[in-house]
Assembly symmetry: D2
Homo-oligomer: 346 residues x 4
């Protein structure tokens, strides 16, 4: 039985970790960390866990935690995990960080976009970017995994095969993303009130959203050259789900079959990436509650562009599910253990 601790267990991503790990037959949660609710019963914070979880919330003492568990998940604001981690802790437990602290290899880029000084940048080189489908072997050996951001997961997986196969011009990529509101977290802000979000849609973080450099780094690896993109997220009146619609110019004329083959080359064996049938557009509802990413594309011969689409549940494959997928790899379990979640419809 793997003993797990969660720092930040009362945010939405933390809550989803609890939901998934509760159904994971090889894991036992030993620590529900939550600065805001210390000593409160977890099931009073998330009433859905009533009679399922009996524990109380604890503080975020990573030192103490490292002695009691095998793996620590940090689902915390930017900068917190980086401020807690140290060599001693890393020698004792595996860490899966759901924040952005260890995702970006270039510390200057991280500091510029996040406006935070990185206190433990010495661990960045060893941290593995936990996009399992791409970095599987490295994840297996990691002691510190940087769990990818929600937008970067969906964007990278949707675009990756075409960049790897050299089908699209890396300088023409535009990603228009749409997210449900759970991505904004559980903080009490007027902007996230029901009446402000409902019956409304807006772009935000236009040309300066923090996930931009993370996506660019991953696409640069795929392209084998530096890639700059436009990335525009939108807030959609729904709880869960991310849809990305990405545009790029084709390098040359290609057929549907050629592009399909590119996707199949990378994903035919991947359980959690579903390349949909021709002309079927991904919908967030079809993956809700599950670890799937549904991807597809459409060629536009008129403009010589390709439209790439991806849908996933931001709290599962975009956060907690992928974190568990990483954990499974790190501990030598079946990669899909605890993640055989059938999407819920409607």
């Amino acid at each position: 039985m793997i003993k797990a601790g969660i720092i930040g267990a009362t945010g939405y991503a933390g809550g989803e970790l609890v939901r998934i790990l509760t159904g994971h037959k090889n894991v036992e949660i030993k620590w529900y960390g939550s600065r805001s609710y210390i000593d409160k019963k977890y099931a009073e914070v998330y009433q859905n866990m009533f009679q399922i979880v009996d524990d109380k919330c604890m503080d975020d003492n990573m030192e103490a935690l490292a002695d009691q568990v095998d793996v620590i998940f940090t689902a915390t604001p930017q900068g917190l995990c980086a401020s807690l981690v140290n060599e001693e802790i890393l020698s004792k437990v595996k860490i899966i960080d759901l924040s952005a602290d260890f995702r970006i290899k270039d510390v200057a880029t991280y500091e510029a976009w996040y406006k935070i000084q990185h206190p433990t940048s010495q661990f960045i080189p060893e941290a593995v970017y936990g996009l399992c489908e791409i970095n599987r072997e490295a994840v297996k050996k990691a002691r510190l995994v940087a769990n990818p951001g929600c937008y970067p997961t969906c964007s990278t997986l949707s675009i990756y095969p075409l960049l790897k196969e050299g089908l699209i011009d890396p300088n023409t990529i535009i990603i228009d993303a749409k997210s449900g509101t759970s991505g904004a977290g559980r903080g009490a802000k007027v902007d996230n009130l029901y009446c402000e979000v409902n019956e409304n849609i807006k772009a935000y973080g236009v040309a300066n959203h923090r996930h931009t450099p993370e996506i660019e780094e991953q696409l640069s690896y795929a392209a084998g050259q530096p890639v700059l993109i436009n990335f525009t997220p939108h807030l959609v009146p729904m709880n869960r789900g991310i849809l990305i619609t990405a545009y790029a110019s084709l390098k040359k004329e290609v057929s549907y079959e050629e592009v399909k083959a590119a996707y199949d080359k990378y994903y035919a064996e991947e359980k959690f990436v579903r390349v949909l049938d021709k002309d079927v557009c991904p919908q967030t509802k079809w993956v809700e509650g599950s670890n799937y990413v549904d991807v597809n594309f459409k060629l536009d011969p008129r403009t010589r562009r390709v439209i790439m689409m991806g849908a996933m549940d931001n709290l599962v494959k975009g956060a907690a599910g992928q974190a568990v997928q990483n954990m499974n790899l790190m501990f030598g379990l079946k990669e899909s253990e605890g993640l055989e979640l059938v999407p819920m419809f409607p």
Copy 2:
């Protein structure tokens, strides 16, 4: 491995049966019946099942089906199951009917409220009303189970202990119910279009909803006398969930502890009925996707009434989940097998 057939697999309740049975380790679905989509791949009708279910939809031939499976679920319009069932079929397979055909013992009452002549009323006496928490032993021995309606399940479980213990006056019961829109089915009707339901709430079926006699029958058993109620359902802009708010006059002055003890007497050992802590009101979101019913109550000394509340997922405990719970009982499996679904929040 139990072989299961579903007649009506492409309605919302049928789809939920598929979702749940797909995760049930003792069951294999052999037949996806759907009059509307014969020969179409099931995963094209419910794209969430892409790469999970490969089968095509079949017709609703119960005779043929009875030779191939161990259990048949009928998630079909009123009257269909009653028109298909016969002694030979019942001698071969167990049937769990999610429609109302065998729920009401008095055939005249059924025919009056449903405006249908019952073609096989000879099977009504043996049919067991599949409210597991109340009729567990009978269900285990049944070959034909009438799976309870969504409103009746939530209403009966919320009120049952107080009637059994004689705490409330059976002639004063008023049930005000609220349901998500999946309860209205997947038929293409203007009334159920997004723009008609969204940002809207209304009562419907006022004083004549078909679930009224079903609830009355169950409450009458509990009260040991005939019970007439007012039952008013409302359509709420959400996909899933039923909340019932029930009112009744107290027979005498009682304390919180006495009423709580009544609930605990019947539900303390029940996995799927959660009696919430004092002053915590049930919310549909806390049970979404799960087989739980959350119940609680509040005493009003000013009016000498008690307000009883219950929340559940209409497609799970209110339909497919309860059907699987019945199946587990009928086949001697662990009652919660395949139903260890943790509620999804948010």
Copy 3:
């Protein structure tokens, strides 16, 4: 031109007052009071008013305001209006208070339910309860109007005729109410976040909601005897709208026509109360954005009860619209001036 000041202009009710008064040809808003946003442009707080309102938010100095305007609307938390008003101010301007401070005639009842000591209870006797359809003549002469609460407006108007005509037993009234989320205000609370409200329904304030004594007082006037009720509000995932479903026992057997005649007697000449056609249930969407209350009823001969239903927009007839209707009466304008708002559908 009537000069108006609004204290609490940046809450949802205040914002709706601005929307309605902006379209009122006899009114000019001179003061946008808002403690939270002093000196900020109003149109930055409510971007819908961009290029429509150019003013900045001011403080809530009622003394200063009384010298500059003809009417003051207070759309503020409980207790604030009562703490600001005095004889000098009342001698200069008319006040329409959208809070509960002057709604309840019995100060002990107010203080018990609101847990506030009333600082200026000497003005309670002269304050007129501004339910225009019932207190029209008194409103015309008032200098201080207590604008009714949202639930009390909808509840009272739905039940009033049957109590006045003695058709129902006053001791049997149960009101089950459902409200959109704007009724909860614009404060930043976790409970009102999009993800907490969406896809969810719950009761709240069960057996102790503050609108209870207000409704009881109005129904007592109608009944000519003290009335105690059960009142249970629910939070519904929609922005606007209140639906009430009320139950009462009939005193004697009555026909549809007799009950319809009772409603018509009081409302046939009322522009803003629409008695719907037989069997048509009120829906909140049909009155959205307008000052209408749609009411109807259904007799249940089985239980000898009547179900009374009412739907209205909580921010219009339930707050700002009714306040403007009161203002029109107080200033001798056409009662519907500025309120000819056609409901928006969908």
Copy 4:
């Protein structure tokens, strides 16, 4: 008093025409045409109009109608208006067609994208594309106005100034659009059911949506050269509202002020186009129920692109409101008559 007839009065756009014209002091609706509801009271189809509109629905006899009214609005499926119109009718009444029949000047393009043969293409040359802000003078003199599509209105207005001023490369334009569900009409289709749309987002009509050539034609006029674009609409779980997010490469380095000046040049005097303040992103909720289009932009110096954004109510400025704006121009009324609708929030 202008007498108006509406063919297609019971679709969502037709219903919005009724709402707006009901509040228009110079117009009287004489004909509520609706093939589906002939002889039914209009207020039974749209209950919000109860006690406001007393008329019944009529057929769609344009010949008969032309003798009775001054202006005919056709809010009908593609091809219908074109099949009804003739020289005699046009000599008697002005026609404002909300369908696409007369929007595209090149009949071959129309027929290719709409898969309909155009029966009366002889009227295409004289039809004026009713985008009032751009074709104001031509509209004033028109007898046949092609009311623009919803997406084309929002897209064209958002991009127009930058193309006219030569700031962007016309070959790089990508429009990612998001629409509420009322744009899909009131037809009873499974795809538009509440449970299918709610908690979901998807792209549709990718690379082949019919509004593409309409947008391209208008942008080509602005650019003075043929323009091909990518246009991808998405279905968003909300009733009303369109948001477009458009991307284009800048021809040269420009400052915020230069681009702002371009918008101001065309829109500073336009009542219904609001150029928002720097860094404020348009939101559909801020224009709901009104005739406004809110536009803004953001420069991205990293990629040398500009992101252009526009938000509007698809049923108002995207359909009925713009139709009334056109009518006002055609009849010499104040352009904003009946359209002084303040956006409703929340």
